[in-house]
Assembly symmetry: C2
Homo-oligomer: 382 residues x 2
Amino acid sequence: MRLLLFVYLFCFQVAADQSMLVKKQHFTLPAYTTVNGQTIAPVNVGWEAYGQLNKDKSNAILITHYFTGNSHAAGVYSEQDSQPGYWDAIIGPNKAIDTNKYFVISVDSLANISPFDPNVITTGPATVNPQTGKPYGLSFPVVQVEDFVAIQKQLLEALGIEKLHAVIGASMGAMQATAWAVNHPEMVNKLLHVIGSVGHDIFAQATLARWSAPIILDPAWQNGHYALDQQPKSGLVRALMNITQDALHYDYLQQQVLPKNNLVTESVISPMPIVSWLSARAEARSKYMDANSLLYLVRASQLFLANEQYTTALQANNIPTLFLPADNDLLLIPQRIEEAVKTLNKTTQHTNIKHLAGPYGHLNGVVAISQAASDIKQFLEN
Amino acid sequence: MRLLLFVYLFCFQVAADQSMLVKKQHFTLPAYTTVNGQTIAPVNVGWEAYGQLNKDKSNAILITHYFTGNSHAAGVYSEQDSQPGYWDAIIGPNKAIDTNKYFVISVDSLANISPFDPNVITTGPATVNPQTGKPYGLSFPVVQVEDFVAIQKQLLEALGIEKLHAVIGASMGAMQATAWAVNHPEMVNKLLHVIGSVGHDIFAQATLARWSAPIILDPAWQNGHYALDQQPKSGLVRALMNITQDALHYDYLQQQVLPKNNLVTESVISPMPIVSWLSARAEARSKYMDANSLLYLVRASQLFLANEQYTTALQANNIPTLFLPADNDLLLIPQRIEEAVKTLNKTTQHTNIKHLAGPYGHLNGVVAISQAASDIKQFLEN
C-alpha cells in the first residue's frame, strides 16, 4: 500500500515556564481496511510531536489520547494560546516525559469527537464520504481500538520507527496502549497505563451506553442523518454532562458552592443548581463536537471493555508495565486494574501499580498527573 | 378540615411459610395545600396495614416506601399472588417487625410512579384534575418529601394515632422517615433509616437528574402533554435503565453471564448485551408507570437532597435512630450517612449505624434486608 505522508516541519521553542510551541501535522492513508473488514478511503489522521527523533530512531514514545481529547498532548499552538495540551505537566524539556531525550509522538484516534475543532483533521463519521459527497454519518464503519492502533502503526512505519520506547495513554488512551502491547509486543518496550482498562468491564460498558442514549433519544439526531451544522444539541449536551459526572468524584461535586435556583420548587423541569453547573460546562465543551462521532467512540470503547482476553495476552507478552489507576475513579474503577495486576504478577515480571490520588476521580489521570511525574520518569529511564 | 376516611376492613391470614393476605386501603382528603402553598383537591392515597392497632393506639409503626415502590410493603393480595410486598422478609408475625406486636401501616407517597398499577390509587400528575377533566400533567404542583409526610400524618390522625413507635423507610422512604423525625419529633419514638439520605448530597441530585433527562429528551413526552396511554416509552425505559444501574453494584453487573450480540461490531446503535439486559428489565418494570410521575419523584428527592439542615434538626430532636446504609451503595453513598452519624454522635445519644452487606449495592436495603432482621428487632424492642 502506498503511503502519502505529509510531514510539516514541527518546531518547538522553550523558555522558562513556557510550553513548547507545537503544530498539528497530517498523515494520510489512501485507504484503510478495518479489523472488521470494511474500507475507508482516504483516511486522514492528525498528530503532533515533541522532541527530536534520534538517528537510530530508538527514542520514540507514543502518546494515545482519551475519549474527549485529541493528539494535542502538550505544548501550545501560539504564544497567545493559554491552553496547553492536556499532559503538558509531564511532557516537555526536563519533564517526566523528557523531550530532550525522547521523540514524543501523539496521534489522533479515528472518529475524533471534535471534528469541528480547527486542529482536528482526522477522519470519522463527520467526514464527507468522497463516494457520496455527503458526511458518512452512521454509514461510517464501526471502528475499534485496534483500528486506532493499526493506523498509528502505519504512521510510525512511515516515519521509519520500528520500536517504541514506550506507549503511554490515559483512559481510552490506555485502552489503545493495551492494544499496542497485545497486538505489537515486538514494537513496545514499555507500557504506561493511566486510569485505563484491560477489558472485561461490564459495568463500564453500561455506563458508556448512558453517554450515547441521550443523543439517540434526541429527535434532532434523526437516526444519524442530521446536517453537520444542526447537531442534536440537547442530546449531545446531556451526553457530555453524563461524561463529566462520570469522570468526577462525588466529593468533588459535594464541595461545589452553587448559586440557588428558586424555580426548582415551582417546576419539576427547572434544573437543580448542580445540573446547571454540569450543563454550562457541557455546553461550552460541545462547541466543536459531533454527536455521531461520540457514538462511534462509545462503541470502540465498549468493544474494548467487552474483550476478556487482554489480561491473558498481556501475561503472554510480559512487557514492563506501570499501571496508574486513580484510587477514587468511578468510571474505570481501580479494582479491575488491581485484579489484572494480581493475575499478571502470578507469571510476569515488571508489572507495577501505583494509585493516583486527588479530588477529581477519573480525571485525576489528566489534571492531577504531575503527582506521578517522578514515577513516570523512573519507569521510562530504568 | 373535614376528612373523608374510607377504611376498608383489612384482613390477614397467616400459615407457616405463607405471607399475610392484605388489601389496599383508600384515604381521601377533600383538599391538601402543599408546603409550597398550592392546593390539590381532592387527594387520594393508598395504604396498607399489617397487625392490629392496640387499644391505646401506641403500637403503630409507619413504613414509608422507596422511589419505585408503593405501600405494598408486605403480604400478598391473594393466595395465588406470588410476589409479596417488598419487605415481606421482615414484616409479619414473629418477623423482625412483628405484626403480632405492632400495627404496621404503610402509606403511598404522592405522585406514585405506577399510577396504572391496579393497586395504586394515589393522586399525582397522571390523575384527572376535576377542574379541567384532563390529567394534571405538569400542572400538578411540585410536591416535596414534607408533603408526603403531611398527608401520612393526616391519615394517622384520622385513625386516632398520635404517636408512632417507629418510622421506618428505605431510600426515598428513609428521606420521608427523616422528615418525620425532623418535623414531628413529638410523634416519633424511633427512626430506622435504611439505605437513605440525610440531605446535602449534590452528587445524588445530579444522578437523579439523569433519571429525568431521557424522558425530557423523548419527543413523545411532548413537554408533559402526552396522552396517558401514549407514554414516552423510550425515555421512560431509559430512565428505568438508569435507575436499575444506579441501584446495583458494579460487581453484580460484572458477574452477569450475557448472550452475545454479533451486531455490535456492525452498528454503533446495536445494544451491548448488558444494555439489552437492562432494557429488558426496564421494559417489564415500565408497564404501570407514568413518565411525568417519575419527574415529580425525582424533584421531591432532589429537593430533599439539596436541604442542608436535616442533620442539625436530627441533632436537636435526639430521637433514637438506627442507620442501615449499604456498604457498597453507589447511589446514596454510605459516606454521607457516616458523616451524619459522626456529627450526631457528638451531641446526641442512641444513634447507631450498621452497614448492610450483599452483592446488590443500593438494592441490598430492599432485597437483602433480612440480614438486619435481628438488629431491627432489637432496635424496636429495646
